[in-house]
């Protein structure tokens, strides 16, 4: 291989990379906040005994699980303005598309968590006089959250990686900035390697956190 690596040109692009990184972080954090909260609400609605509530929620989950996330992003960016005459800034639109996708996946993680709460605990709740919402808040949520945490964190990491797809619709995230730098400098190898390293360094601690949670979960199950 006679390729000469040259990373020096990237020092002059630090501000662009930081700007892109900040957008990626915003997309990741806001979409995760949305997915963690709305995922639980959607899960409860999808498990409701009322069909009229359950069916649309299940359809929502299946739609987001069964279509490519890239398609969802493109659809949000191009179709929502046409259909509803709504023009939202690109980052908010990205958060919405990614957040709703994550909501669907997290709802499934919560469902698994709720189903792992022993039925006898619901009986105990009734025996103690806890109202339905109190059962959910004080007994079901903490237990299902603990069980679902490794999956929620994994989904969170995946979302950070998928957030790179918004570059396709010109949201100036880390990937978009990297693409611009690579094209300007004709140095795709160095640029994309650095971008990959940044994503890797952001995801690695969370990935370790998942392992810690899984070990704790295993230990708790064994006791």
């Amino acid at each position: 291989m006679d390729y000469q690596f040259d990373f020096h040109f990237l020092t002059g692009k630090a501000d662009m990379l930081l700007e892109g990184l900040w957008v990626t972080l915003q997309l990741t954090l806001y979409a995760n906040a949305m997915g963690v909260v709305l995922g639980f609400v959607l899960c409860l609605m999808a498990m409701s005994k009322f069909r009229m509530l359950r069916w649309p929620c299940q359809l929502f989950i299946e739609f987001f699980r069964c279509t490519p996330v890239l398609l969802q992003i493109v659809w949000f960016f191009y179709c929502i303005p046409i259909l509803f005459q709504v023009y939202i800034d690109p980052i908010t639109m990205g958060v919405l598309a990614l957040g709703l996708n994550l909501t669907a996946f997290n709802a499934e993680a919560y469902r698994a968590g709720i189903q792992s709460v022993p039925k006898a605990h619901f009986d105990a709740c009734v025996a103690l006089g806890l109202k339905s919402w109190q059962q959910t808040l004080y007994v079901v949520l903490p237990q299902s959250l603990r069980t679902a945490m490794p999956v929620l964190l994994t989904n969170g990491i995946s979302l950070m990686q998928q957030s790179a797809l918004v570059a396709i619709v010109a949201v100036s995230d880390l990937m978009y900035m990297g693409k611009s730098i690579a094209v300007d400098a004709y140095r795709p190898l160095e640029t994309y390697s650095l971008i990959a390293l940044i994503y890797f360094l952001m995801a690695l601690p969370i990935s370790h956190l998942v392992n810690v949670f899984e070990r704790r979960q295993d230990a708790a199950m064994q006791r």
Binding site: P118, H121, V126, A127, L128, G129, V139, A220, R223
Partner: protein, 269 residues
């Protein structure tokens, strides 16, 4: 284990009379409209009764407790508590009609059912605080007192997973007692325990019995049943086949089915 007495909530004096405490009137219950577990059950329990229900599997023993706790509905009949409607059936369904009466019943289950994400104290104070709106400090003080009386004062900050089976079951009893019930339901509470832990739980129940707490106990331990009961009820096929004092039922059962059952289980014991 500390054997100090556990203070229990006593029902009013008139509840000692027939028809003034728990009264089942022709209660019918079936699962999926097929498996009949309570077939026109009638029962009159007085507040000074300690009812032990015995019978083969599927005879309706646990179903009776679950119905009384409002965990399952009935398809026919009514249940009164303190002479007032407690559970009413209508159109093949039923509901607990009085939350106030429901709060006077406590239940302990076979498999502890402690909430694993809460400490022992967290388990004890959850319902008094969230359901009855009591302040945290008084709940903690009461919880400590109860735990001390049940020999668990050093387990306040433990999680259920750090306790033995017997300790978990005693915490479950303490959790139910925190709500000051007038009637305690015990559903095979020692069945899942190792033999050496059975005694520590039975000792707690004996303490409650000495305090004249009204209780309904489902158990397969005939020796314990004889020791704790004021009245023994034998169920089979969803019906009450025979009832009487422990001496009557264990010593001289009138019904052939009771004799057959007791022969089998006493032989096994």
């Amino acid at each position: 284990m500390n054997t100090a007495e556990v203070v229990v909530n006593m029902p009013p004096a008139n509840a000692m009379e027939a028809g003034q405490f728990i009264q089942l009137d022709n209660v019918f219950k079936a699962y999926n409209n097929e498996l009949v577990v309570m077939d026109g059950m009638n029962l009159d329990m007085r507040a000074d009764d300690r009812l032990v229900i015995i019978g083969p599997s599927g005879s309706g023993k646990s179903s009776l407790l679950r119905v009384l706790m409002g965990l399952e509905g009935i398809q026919g009949g009514d249940i009164n508590f303190h002479g007032q409607p407690y559970i009413k059936s209508e159109n093949n369904d039923s509901k607990v009609v009085s939350d106030e009466l429901h709060s006077r019943v406590g239940m302990v289950f076979q498999h502890y059912t402690l909430f694993p994400h809460l400490t022992v104290m967290g388990n004890l104070i959850l319902a008094p605080m969230k359901v009855h709106g009591k302040d945290k400090q008084s709940c903690i003080a009461k919880g400590r007192e109860l735990l001390a009386r049940l020999g668990l004062e050093d387990k306040v900050d433990y999680y259920p997973s750090q306790l033995s089976g017997g300790q978990k079951q005693r915490v479950a009893i303490a959790r139910a007692l925190m709500l000051e019930p007038e009637l305690m339901l015990f559903d095979e509470v020692t069945s899942a325990l190792d033999p050496e832990m059975v005694t520590e739980v039975q000792n707690v129940m004996m303490q409650l019995a000495e305090q004249k707490m009204a209780m309904i106990i489902v158990t397969h331990d005939m020796h314990f049943a004889r020791e704790i009961a004021t009245r023994v009820v034998f169920c089979a096929g969803g019906k009450i086949v025979e009832q009487g004092t422990p001496d009557e039922v264990f010593g001289n059962p009138k019904e052939a089915r009771t004799r057959e059952f007791l022969d089998k289980v006493l032989h096994l014991n």
